[in-house]
Amino acid sequence: MKPTEAPKLIVQDLDLYYGDFQALKRIQMSIVSRQITALIGPSGCGKSTLLRCFNRMNDLIESVQMRGRILLDGQDIADPSLPLVTLRKRVGMVFQRPNPFPLSAFENIAFGLHLHALAAGRRIHAIVEQSLQAVGLWDRLKDRLHQPALRLSLEEQQRLCIARAMAIKPEVILLDEPCSTLDPIATGKIEELLYALKEHYTIVIVTHNMQQAARVSDTAGFLLLGELVEFGPTNRLFTNPRDPKTEAYITGRFG
């Protein structure tokens, strides 16, 4: 814990409905800057839904109704003074399945740069290199920048997706079960990468893999049926859970 840091994200009394179905109930939490926060819980408990609140991806789903607030650096993310485009530029996302565009690695990373007119010409090349360096792909890809990204291994594709999210210089990176399609070795490498990245980014990761949460995160939250049952330092949550439901989950009695 670095207690001096102000919370990057604060969730206040968040309720979320898909039509009549309440997927998130009264969520309260604060996410500290430059830490890895893990959200764990059984499938269908609302982890992805909560994660997608942070960059307002749920806006794309017509049936969604929300109450409560989420503050990014103290500013309400639903406030019109924070345009959606700006929010999503500041809060990047990496998805469960590696999903590069069927373009070259270079074009994948340049995609966001073009959107925001962040760079042109040589600058783009420099940022592509930086981003690939940061995810440890540069040496492997520097001679194949213009080959189709879908020819890469799944792990490389997921790294590329992380690089693509990083290229537009977000402050927060959301990852939704980023390793669920990867084998254990690739998973380990991605975890190392996350560990390195937290120096510069605030990371929120959803995982149904408890060992992963225990390994990489500083803070963890346990969700069950749309409720945040417990939220606290990972060490404490895994060694000395306060709620019997958390204990039952981490000792593998359900889920």
């Binding site: 999503r88 530029k89 990047g92 999903n99 995609f111 997706c161 693509r164």
Partner: protein
């Protein structure tokens, strides 16, 4: 005979019967398929055999002569090609725009359901009705006169449902994850369509457009009242000029010109057929190439 043997024999008979029925069914299905193929081969074979000897460079590149009984069909070929080009110019942007609206923007409300229904209906309208519609709207009301412009607009409207349907399908086949990633990177809705969806739908849109156009290129009824000239001694100079076109020219040669060599008609039919067929082949090749290259 003991009961066990009798039961075995009964089962055996039943099995033989089932197999016989299956064979007959397959044979009937095969014959039906064969008849379809036969019709296609006969049409093409007949026109090829009777028309091919008439084909020559001169036939393709010279003006008609001696009351269209001799000479070439150059102006009709040019007219049809110009019509095709102009039709694409009108129909493609409008069709793609409509498809984008319907797949990417339209919510499921009564108005959009009505629009969809209207498009489905449009594809069921007989082509001669399009011809009359074009006459009323473009030739008379818009005062374009009988012209390439009026004809191309009429053909464009006729082609629209095909292009819209094909484009919608192409847009829908672009994985949802492309849109999600694009939004998550901060793209606006339009940027997402423009950069993360449309580029990957282009091959499908092109295939659909070519197929739609190739059908339109062979139609006589829509151009009958809107563009087609019986005979014009010169090529059109502007979109407001009348033009000759292959399907109508063929109709004229076949019904209005006595004492014309048979082969002249079949030669004309063959040129029209080759034009339409090559468009279809182009579409099929494009689609096959795209399927092979597509990676998602």
């Amino acid at each position: 005979m003991d009961p066990a043997t009798r039961r075995v024999q009964a089962a055996d008979r039943q099995w033989r019967r089932a197999e016989l029925i299956q064979r007959v069914a397959f044979a009937l299905l095969f014959i039906a398929t064969l008849l379809v193929a036969l019709a296609s081969v006969l049409v093409m074979g007949l026109i090829l055999i009777r028309g091919a000897p008439w084909l020559s460079w001169e036939f393709l590149t010279t003006m008609p002569a001696r009351g269209m009984r001799a000479g070439g069909i150059f102006p009709a070929i040019v007219g049809t090609l110009e019509l095709i080009g102009l039709t694409v110019v009108f129909a493609l942007p409008m069709g793609v725009a409509a498809a984008i609206y319907l797949t990417e923007y339209a919510r499921d409300n009564w108005m959009n359901r009505f629009i969809r229904l209207a498009i489905v209906n449009l594809s069921g309208v007989p082509s001669v009705v399009y011809g009359l519609f074009g006459l009323g709207l473009f030739v008379i009301f818009c005062r374009f006169g009988t012209s390439l412009l009026a004809g191309a607009l009429t053909l464009a409207i006729m082609t629209l449902p095909v292009i819209i349907t094909a484009s919608e399908e192409a847009l829908r086949s672009v994985p949802q994850s492309f849109r999600e990633v694009s939004h998550s990177l901060g793209a606006s809705r339009w940027q997402t369509v423009r950069h993360a969806v449309l580029p990957f739908a282009v091959p499908g849109i092109m295939t659909g457009t070519i197929l739609g156009i190739s059908r339109a290129a062979g139609e006589t009824a829509p151009i009958l009242f809107t563009v087609a000239a019986f005979y014009v001694p010169r090529l059109p100079h502007s979109v407001f000029d009348q033009a000759m076109a292959l399907p109508y020219h063929l109709y004229v040669l076949s019904t209005q010109i006595p004492n014309i060599p048979q082969a002249h008609r079949y030669g004309t039919a063959l040129v029209l057929l080759l034009l339409v067929l090559s468009l279809n082949v182009l579409a099929v090749v494009l689609r096959a190439r795209f399927r092979r290259k597509r990676q998602w």
